[in-house]
């Protein structure tokens, strides 16, 4: 799976959790609806979709599509 496909799938996950379309450069801390509860829902959905697992510190650190995609690519 190439980077663009990974990013697109992550955006789809975030869109589903947030409940509305999000831009490709969406960031936690900028989009207010990306709150603590939804952040965990996004993380767990990404883990299930890509078969990866974020550590506790990684969960706290990832704030953007690129951050999440980087983790997915590191793990693959």
């Amino acid at each position: 799976m190439n980077t663009n496909n990974i990013n697109q799938e992550i955006i789809e996950i975030i869109t589903t959790v947030i409940g509305e379309p999000v831009p490709s450069n969406v960031e936690r801390g900028v989009l207010s609806k990306w709150d603590s509860l939804r952040h965990m829902q996004i993380i767990f959905s990404v883990e299930e979709r890509f078969g990866v697992q974020f550590s506790e510190s990684e969960i706290a650190q990832v704030k953007s599509v690129d951050d999440i995609a980087a983790k997915v690519e590191r793990t693959k």
Partner: protein, 197 residues
């Protein structure tokens, strides 16, 4: 007030605040990144001890430290106060977590559990500074009832601000619990596994 309520969860717990927690309060509540939407507190630990002494004498006010169960590591603070003597309601707040903490979901779950299952309150509410959009969204995401803006409701260092009021009734708590508990369980599994690593 001085109390002995210990509310254990799956990865975190609420334990009573004591005088010895004065440095923790100062540490958390003087962090500029964490306190933009809270009342300022003095950086003096002695003054914080005085505040805690007064709190311990105050009725109907329950202040907790949010602690990681494994290792008893403090991760934040939360409280319920202005509890009505007829148990008709109370307000929860003073909620602050260390940067990077995963305790948000479970600590909110536990404060509701305390309010409804232990205190037997009929309703709890919280008032969030309207500009604190992530926390307003968190309460909306949890499924609390959004009662809208309370204009000029709070005074911070920055001035008078609007707040957003959210409510949960005892009846609504069952719905909220069903929504939050699966997330609490998933997060706890991760937090507890991290401790072992």
């Amino acid at each position: 007030m001085r109390h002995t309520h210990f509310i254990p969860g799956l990865a975190f717990a609420l334990r009573p605040l004591t005088l010895e927690d004065a440095p923790l309060i100062v540490e958390l509540r003087t962090d500029p990144q964490r306190t933009q939407f809270l009342h300022a507190v003095s950086p003096s630990i002695d003054k914080q001890r005085m505040w805690i002494e007064a709190y311990l004498q105050r009725a109907n006010d329950y202040y907790f430290v949010i602690e990681r169960l494994r290792g008893a590591v403090p991760e934040g603070l939360v409280g319920i106060y202005d509890v009505e003597s007829d148990l008709s309601g109370g307000e929860w707040g003073r909620w602050i977590l260390r940067s990077g903490s995963l305790a948000a979901v479970e600590s909110s779950y536990l404060i509701y559990k305390f309010a409804f299952d232990i205190l037997k309150l009929k309703m709890v509410h919280c008032s969030t500074v309207a500009g604190n959009k992530a926390v307003v969204s968190f309460h909306d995401s949890c499924g609390l009832i959004n009662r809208g803006i309370q204009a000029a409701h709070r005074t911070l260092d920055s001035g008078v601000v609007d707040t957003i009021r959210h409510e949960c009734t005892m009846e609504h708590w069952q719905i909220l619990a069903a929504k939050l508990l699966p997330q609490v369980q998933l997060i706890a599994r991760r937090v507890n596994n991290s401790y072992q690593q």
